[in-house]
Structure formats: structure tokens, C-alpha cells
Amino acid sequence: MVARAKQQDAIANNLANAETAGFKRESIFMRRLEAAQTDASQPWFIPLQQEKYTDFTQGPLDITGNPFHQAIDGPGFFVVEAPEGERYTRSGNFTLNEEGQLVTSDGYPVLGDSGPIVLTSDNFVVGERGEVSENGVERGRLRVVSFTTPQTLTPLGRNLFTTTEEAQPDAQSLVRQGYIERANFDLVQQMVEMMTIFRYFETAQKAVQIQDASLDRAVNQVGRIQR
């Protein structure tokens, strides 16, 4: 029951982020501990280990027409300079700060090949490879990176991910200007998953009740002294 409650927490988080740009669906699944499977002396005790899986598949791209909105078509991530260091994001709803740097909605500069991208107006074009040009003048190239095992990426909130793995320049991904990537889950599927978890939870509750009923019988009926 505890494990199912955790799964429900994960689904609630997905659903709460239904409209978060570049959000990636997470699910918690369970597996038996291998040690327990081989330990025949304790067949009733099968601890479950919970694992998390983040689904990094592409989310749908929504056209917004805002030149500051960038979406990544492919496995890559934008690199942003958060106060705590370089972090990665798929959420491309950028804006400018007072110095004209391209920043996230939290004000963290988005990094290009040579530092932050500096613009003077909203009249700029971003090419498929992230090349930024304003009125025909090159303003740098947005860094797009990918990872060999994206599962090592840990979400930090604020749409940022961090990892211990080395980021590699990504040649596959295309940057789409004027688009926003939506969360990558299907509401129907999440709903079905939520119903399934609820029923499993219910089953586990019944199992506890049955256990309780047989203990009740053992304690109060088997041991009763008949007059």
C-alpha cells in the first residue's frame, strides 16, 4: 500500500505538470529484490524495491509564434547557467534580461557556444542548428547537448535537470523557433494508470483486512473457553 501511494504521488506530479513546457513523464515501478527471491527460508517476506523511470520521449510541439520560444525536436537539451552551475532544460520559454541576454523565466542565461546570447531586439531568427542571427548579424549558436544515458538526469524543479555525466554536443536535435514543447504524457494513459494503482491499493487493503479477520478468529474464537 505504501508503494502504491508513492506511485500515486508520481502520477499526481505528472498531472500537475500537464501544461509545463518540456516536462518529462515519470513513473515509479517496483521489482522484487533478487536476494529475496533466492532466500527460500523467508518465502513470505518479499521486499519490493522501487525504481523510477523518466520518459524522455519527445513531447508534442505547440506553435506559439513568440520568437523567444524555442523547442527541441530530438533528444537534446539546452544548457543554462544556474547559480549552482550548468544545468540542462527542455523548456524553451526564454526571454531577455535588462542586458539583452537570452534567459529562462528564472533569469538564468541560456548558453551558446561562447557564453550567453546577447540580443538587442525581438527581431531575430534561430536556425535549426541553434544559430542565432539578428538583422543578419550572427549572435552565437545555442548549445544543444545530449547524454548517453539520459536516465542519470535528475530533475531539480524549475524545469532544470542535472547529471554527473558529461554532456556531449548533440548533432541530431533541431531547434524550432516559435514553438514550445508540451509535457510528453497522455492524459488517458495517466488516468488508466491512476485507476489501476487505486485498485491495487484496494486489493492490498483487503488483504490486510482478511489477515486481520483471521487473526481475530485465532485470538478470540480458537482460544475461547467453552462453558
Binding site: M1, R4, A5, K6, Q8, D9, A10, I11, A12, N13, L15, A16, N17, A18, E19, T20, A21, F23, E26, Q50, E51, K52, Y53, T54, T64, G65, N66, F68, S91, N93, T95, L96, E98, E99, G100, S105, D106, T120, S121, D122, N123, T149, Q151, T152, T154, P155, G157, R158, N159, T164, L187, Q190, M191, M195, I197, F198, F201, E202, Q205, Q209
Partner: protein, 262 residues
């Protein structure tokens, strides 16, 4: 389980605000020079249940962390400064800024505000003001014997004086632009105020230095797209709904847990 309830509630609160923003856009669909906003969201903190990179026995390390997020929150209202639809009015005091730039007006408290609303009027002295009576900066006064007011694309204001066949220049409309117009604060009444995020205003005559030209006899309508706002409203409503289902399910799970002991 209680967490799932709060998490889903954060999603409901965020979507409620989304509808608020959409409703404001729709309410201003016919407001001169109105710029539509869209609400952006982000995920919040994650609770780490098991961190990545710790030993799982022997030499093997846990490759992936186990963490659960706490929901979502609105992160920004992005204001899109694209040019709105053009409406011909024929009124010589209506001007439209055909791209980048803001008119400057003097507020009663002595500060300067910025507006895209070019529906100018004249006050009793002939000074150009906004509909609220705020004086356009730099101040332009139309002489009382002027007959024909013409505002050129570069902002020069010319009038014909009775008995004179040569137009006479009475002022020059100046525009302001910002490096980051999305950082301006909306003050209501079609006015914007500069902030630390918008940067300082860069002043100039229309048509120079990245500023757009003016068009007399036209007004800029809002840049709200009704269909788009309707779609956003539907999506927000459904997202709100499904989050309420997550609250319900979590509640039922809590109820089951409470009923374990009969």
C-alpha cells in the same frame, strides 16, 4: 498519499491562474494596443527518496535516483509584443506604431509611462494627451487656428494655419524602445512602466535606430487571437479537471487506509 493530494492541488491552482490570464486576454480583445500574455509553468522541488550514485551492495552503484516531485507552479506571464491588427479610423489624431516602440506619457506623479495606444486627443489648450488626459511627451501643442493636422511617418506633426498655404511644423513625436519589452510592468489603462528587467528606454524619432514608423488615421488593435485563447481555455479546464481526479483518487485511497481497521 497526502502529498499526491497537495501535488495535484498545485496543478489545479496553476491552471486556475492560467484561466485568469486567458480571461484577461479575452476581456481585452478589443483594447487598443493590448498585448496578450501567456502563463508559463515549471515543476517544483523533488523529494529524494533514494539518491543516485550510492552503493547498492558490492561495487554497484544506484544509477538512477528515486524522487517524487511536488507539483507545478506558474513561473512567468510572457507578454508577446507582436503587432496587433490594424484598424482604420480616419481620425487624424489616431496613430499606430507599425512595429517596435512606445509613446511616452507624463503621469500626474511626474513619472513617465509608456503606451502603444495611439488614440490621442487634444485638451483645452490644444496639447496632445491620451484618453485619460496624460500629456504626451515631448509635449506637442496644436495652435487653436490650425485646420489640418498631419502626422508624418517619421513623427513630425504639421498643421495648416488659417490663411497660410504652407504647412507648419509644431512638434516631433518621439518613441521609446526597450531591450526587453517583456520585462515592462503593465499598469493598466494601456500603460507600461519600466523596470530593472526591461532596461532603460532608448529614445529616438520614428523610423530611426530600430524604431518603427507611425501611421496616421489608424489604430493598433490587440494581438489577441480568440481561437488560440479558446483552445488554451479548454486545455486549462481539462488539466484542472484531471488534477481534481487525482485529488479524488488520493482521497479515496486515504479513506481505504482509514477503513483498514473495521
Amino acid at each position: 498519499m497526502i502529498r499526491a493530494m497537495r501535488t495535484a492541488a498545485s496543478g489545479m491552482i496553476a491552471q486556475q491562474m492560467n484561466v485568469d490570464v486567458v480571461a484577461n486576454n479575452l476581456a481585452n480583445v478589443n483594447t487598443t494596443g493590448f498585448k496578450r500574455s501567456s502563463l508559463q509553468f515549471q515543476d517544483v522541488l523533488y523529494q529524494q527518496i533514494k539518491p543516485a550514485g550510492v552503493s547498492t551492495g558490492g561495487t554497484s552503484l544506484r544509477p538512477v535516483a528515486l524522487d517524487v516531485g511536488y507539483g507545478s507552479r506558474p513561473s512567468a506571464t510572457d507578454r508577446l509584443f507582436s503587432v496587433g491588427n490594424i484598424q482604420p479610423t480616419g481620425n487624424p489624431l489616431d496613430i499606430m506604431i507599425e512595429g517596435n516602440g512606445f509613446l511616452q506619457v507624463l503621469l500626474p506623479d511626474g513619472t513617465t509611462a509608456f503606451t502603444r495606444d495611439g488614440a490621442l486627443k487634444m485638451d483645452a489648450e490644444g496639447t496632445l494627451v491620451t484618453s485619460d488626459g496624460y500629456i504626451l511627451q515631448p509635449e506637442i501643442t496644436i495652435p487653436d487656428d490650425a485646420t489640418n493636422i498631419s502626422i508624418q511617418v517619421d513623427g513630425r506633426v504639421e498643421v495648416l494655419i488659417v490663411g497660410d498655404d504652407q504647412p507648419q511644423e509644431v512638434g516631433q513625436i518621439e518613441l521609446a524602445r526597450f531591450i526587453n519589452p517583456a520585462g515592462l510592468t503593465a499598469m493598466g489603462r494601456n500603460l507600461f512602466a519600466e523596470t530593472a528587467a526591461s532596461g532603460n528606454p532608448i529614445l529616438g524619432n520614428p523610423g530611426t535606430d530600430g524604431l518603427a514608423t507611425l501611421n496616421q488615421g489608424y489604430l493598433e488593435m490587440s494581438n489577441v487571437e480568440v481561437v488560440e485563447e479558446m483552445v488554451k481555455m479548454i486545455v486549462a479546464q481539462r488539466a484542472f479537471e484531471i488534477n481534481s481526479k487525482a485529488v479524488q483518487t488520493s482521497d479515496q485511497m486515504a479513506e481505504l487506509a482509514n477503513n483498514m481497521r473495521r
